[in-house]
């Protein structure tokens, strides 16, 4: 028969200072774990959420990112007339030649800057990205040195607000609109016209070419056509593949999170162990009495483990609550594949909270196991005689 849970709860209430201190050391561990994992998740999801399944990016063979790639103008002409590209209302192929350059902009409230991606789009560029939504102002007009800035970049970098003038390449560019691109990599970019940008940076040609396939079969055929044309020296990657490859940026953060939380967990479970040993020592006589009443070793073992797990669960719950406000807070780091700023938000998901709770319970279980074992193997007679 199991010892009633009430027995454990009352005991915890009696030793509330110790319980609180132990629980709180677990709280801190869980908070750190959840926050760091939320950071890694936010970064990862902004990359995995980017891309339309039917979009193909054509880049120079051997280039890891658009910034390193180049596509000549004559190659664009070949690409435009490949078979399997979707057409717009006017019957033109849905192809956008794009030019990507990085500029160093100072962050708001900081002298130091970071590289921000400026993307020059072809006329079809907007239509190829369903995430795109203009929130303020208007779209840029070609030939007027106008740019539109994503909301996240506008918030995080100096002179990127609506109406501001940005200085890069050969002069000033006016910010005429603010756009939202959801939780994607495009939400960390500044957009303008590809030809304007090319002129200012003396770049003949483009960085990449975006194509929209009519269907998945056409997508595969397009990829093959690009790869097989030996004159092009280009390769085709689906937009989704391209961004998924960059998720390795989140790797170090995940590792760091596990390393730090792991070490903190060792400290916290030792604390739980100390607390539980003290609890067992104080209640030796009670344990003897419980045994006399007929409770088995197993139920004593279970009871003490449950007590420890309860402490840990309280701590874990508090930890999750403390970590929750970080959800949605936006931050940014450099994506080292593209060498440019990637703005994203912390993402605390229910799944992550569950992981935090499991993490706490494991700490409690490990902390409680040995003391509970000891309690269960107490000699009844000596236990009853102890003070």
């Amino acid at each position: 028969m199991a010892i009633p849970l009430k027995y454990n709860l009352r005991n915890l209430a009696v030793r509330r200072t110790t319980t609180a201190m132990t629980a709180f050391s677990i709280t801190l561990t869980v908070t750190v774990f959840v926050v760091l994992m939320a950071l890694a998740r936010g970064l990862q999801s902004s990359l995995t959420a980017t891309g339309h399944p039917l979009n193909l990016i054509v880049m120079r063979e051997g280039s890891q990112s658009e910034t390193q790639s180049s596509v000549q103008r004559d190659a664009l002409q070949t690409l435009r007339y490949l078979e399997g590209i979707a057409k717009n209302e006017k019957g033109e192929p849905r192809v956008s030649p794009e030019l990507v350059v990085l500029i160093n902009l100072p962050r708001r409230g900081q002298g130091q800057g970071s590289n921000v991606t400026i993307r020059g789009l072809g006329p079809e560029g907007f239509a190829l990205r369903r995430e795109f939504k203009l929130v303020e102002g208007r779209e840029f007009k070609p030939g007027l040195r106008e740019v539109i800035v994503s909301k996240r970049i506008a918030e995080r970098f100096q002179s990127c607000g609506l109406g501001d003038k940005l200085k890069f390449a050969k002069g000033y560019w006016t910010v005429v609109g603010i756009f939202d691109a959801g939780n994607t990599a495009y939400a960390s970019e500044i957009w303008t016209d590809a030809e304007d940008l090319g002129q200012d940076f003396d770049r003949d040609g483009y960085s990449s070419v975006f194509l929209r396939a009519t269907d998945t079969a056409a997508l595969d055929r397009l990829k093959k056509q690009v790869a097989d044309d030996r004159r092009l020296h280009q390769k085709g990657l689906t937009e989704i593949e391209y961004y998924e490859k960059q998720t390795s940026t989140a790797g170090p953060i995940k590792f760091l999170g596990l390393f730090i939380a792991g070490l903190m967990a060792v400290g916290a479970s030792f604390a739980a162990m100390n607390t539980m040993y003290a609890a067992v020592a104080r209640r030796t006589k009670e344990i003897g009495a419980l045994r006399v009443l007929g409770f088995s070793r197993g139920s004593i073992l279970l009871s003490f483990i449950i007590e420890s797990v309860i402490i840990a669960a309280i701590g874990g719950f508090l930890g999750c609550v403390l970590a929750l406000p970080i959800n949605g807070v936006s931050t940014g780091t450099t994506n080292f594949t593209t060498f440019s700023e990637l703005a994203f938000s912390f993402r605390v998901t229910p799944e992550l909270l569950l992981q935090g709770m499991i993490f706490a319970v494991v700490m409690g279980f490990i902390g409680g196991l040995f003391p509970a074992w000891r309690a269960a193997h107490e000699n009844i007679v000596t236990a009853l005689r102890s003070t």
Partner: protein, 377 residues
């Protein structure tokens, strides 16, 4: 008195062991965080004494500078030498083999990087061979390169695959890099006559600010405005791109510190409460409350500092053995537990130990003797 402290600590060996281990693990973590935090703030200790500066395009490191700037920079008073270089970004054999490789001005690079030591015959062989290369000893060791080896650099954004012959191995300076002739790169990509940045050697390190200003002023209002900064500032600008990592580390560090405080406080509270009646007996024997407080506090200090010594000392030994500085430049350029970082960590540990024991010790020492004697725990 100290014997009493030790005896008391050894009374509940398991508890002392668990607490000390917990402190040890946490302080290991804390000193690791402190090390990274320091390295992010000041990537190179005593950076001011290194007389090397970098000149790059103000618009960003990804934009090139004209080759014609070199003689102009050399003419600035206080400049001892100047060499242009271009980040090449190739890898060797496998994309996993990433390392720093630059196309450099072979004539001047050794003048600028005066800390680099290379046998004179190897230096001459490198200068003579247009497709020659030199590598730092750390890099050569990593890939097992020997002088005379053929090295092909793949996957560079320049779209050109240089086939190089290793002509020399240098020690000192940036020993994790490979250098080859900038002319070789320039010819192969169509003679753009551009470099990524300039390394400048100063006659005196103190003149850094002045020289930086003069160089930048010289190119103001041209198409290619420059930004001249010290090696340390250059590294910091890269670190800034990571985002506010220092704040994150500081917050985690605070959480770890607070967690250790809780663990030690919990142990001390438990151990002092169990000895309430003992403290009362000592008081009735004539010991003053201050003695009792001192005794308990000393116990906490010995326990915590022992754990801290293990944790921080372990971290020091481990990171010295790993030689993180040899991993590469940037954040790792001078990453180690510097003496002042160690000092900060031990101070934190001492603070924790005093704070943790004070309140329970104070209560035990001030308790009514008659009540305390009756206390049964």
């Amino acid at each position: 008195m100290w014997r009493l402290v030790l005896k008391n600590l050894l009374r509940n060996k398991r508890r002392s062991f668990l607490t000390a281990s917990s402190v040890c693990v946490s302080m290991f973590l804390l000193s690791t965080l402190a090390m990274v935090y320091t390295a992010l703030g000041a990537p190179i200790q005593d950076a001011d004494s290194i007389p090397i500066m970098m000149v790059r395009r103000a618009a960003g490191i990804v934009f090139p500078l004209p080759l014609s700037y070199a003689p102009k920079i050399r003419s600035v008073p206080g400049v001892a030498a100047c060499a242009g270089l271009t980040w090449f970004g190739g890898y060797w054999k496998d994309p996993a083999n990433q390392f720093a490789n630059f196309a450099v001005d072979a004539e001047n690079v050794f003048e600028v990087q005066a800390g680099v030591q290379i046998p004179p015959d190897q230096k001459e062989a490198f200068k003579r061979d247009r497709t020659g290369a030199v590598a730092g000893d750390l890099l050569a060791k990593r890939f097992g390169w020997k002088v005379g080896d053929r090295i092909t650099l793949l996957g560079s954004p320049w779209g050109f695959t240089p086939e190089l012959t290793l002509r020399g191995i240098y020690t000192g300076g940036p020993a994790d890099q490979l250098w080859f002739h900038w002319e070789y790169l320039n010819e192969s990509i169509g003679g753009l006559d551009q470099v990524g940045l300039y390394w400048v050697r100063l006659e005196k390190p103190e003149s850094a600010a002045q020289v930086g200003k003069t160089i930048d002023a010289m190119f103001r209002n041209t198409d290619n405005e420059t930004k001249t900064e010290s090696l340390s500032a250059f590294l910091l600008s890269f670190i800034a791109m990571l985002g506010n990592v220092r704040l994150v580390i500081f917050m985690i560090g605070s959480a770890v510190t607070f967690a250790v405080l809780l663990v030690v406080a919990n142990t001390m509270a438990m151990s002092i409460r169990e000895r309430t009646s003992e403290a009362a007996i000592m008081r009735s024997l004539g010991y003053q409350p201050s003695h009792i407080i001192g005794l308990f506090m000393a116990e906490s200090v010995v326990l915590t500092m022992f754990g801290a010594l293990m944790g921080i000392g372990g971290a020091k030994l481990l990171f010295d053995a790993l030689a993180l500085r040899q991993i590469g430049q940037f954040v790792f350029a001078d990453m180690r537990l510097r003496p002042e970082t160690l000092g900060v960590c031990f101070s934190i540990a001492l603070g924790i130990s005093l704070l943790a024991a004070f309140w329970p010790a104070y209560r035990a020492a001030r308790a009514n003797i008659a009540m305390a004697l009756r206390y049964v725990g």
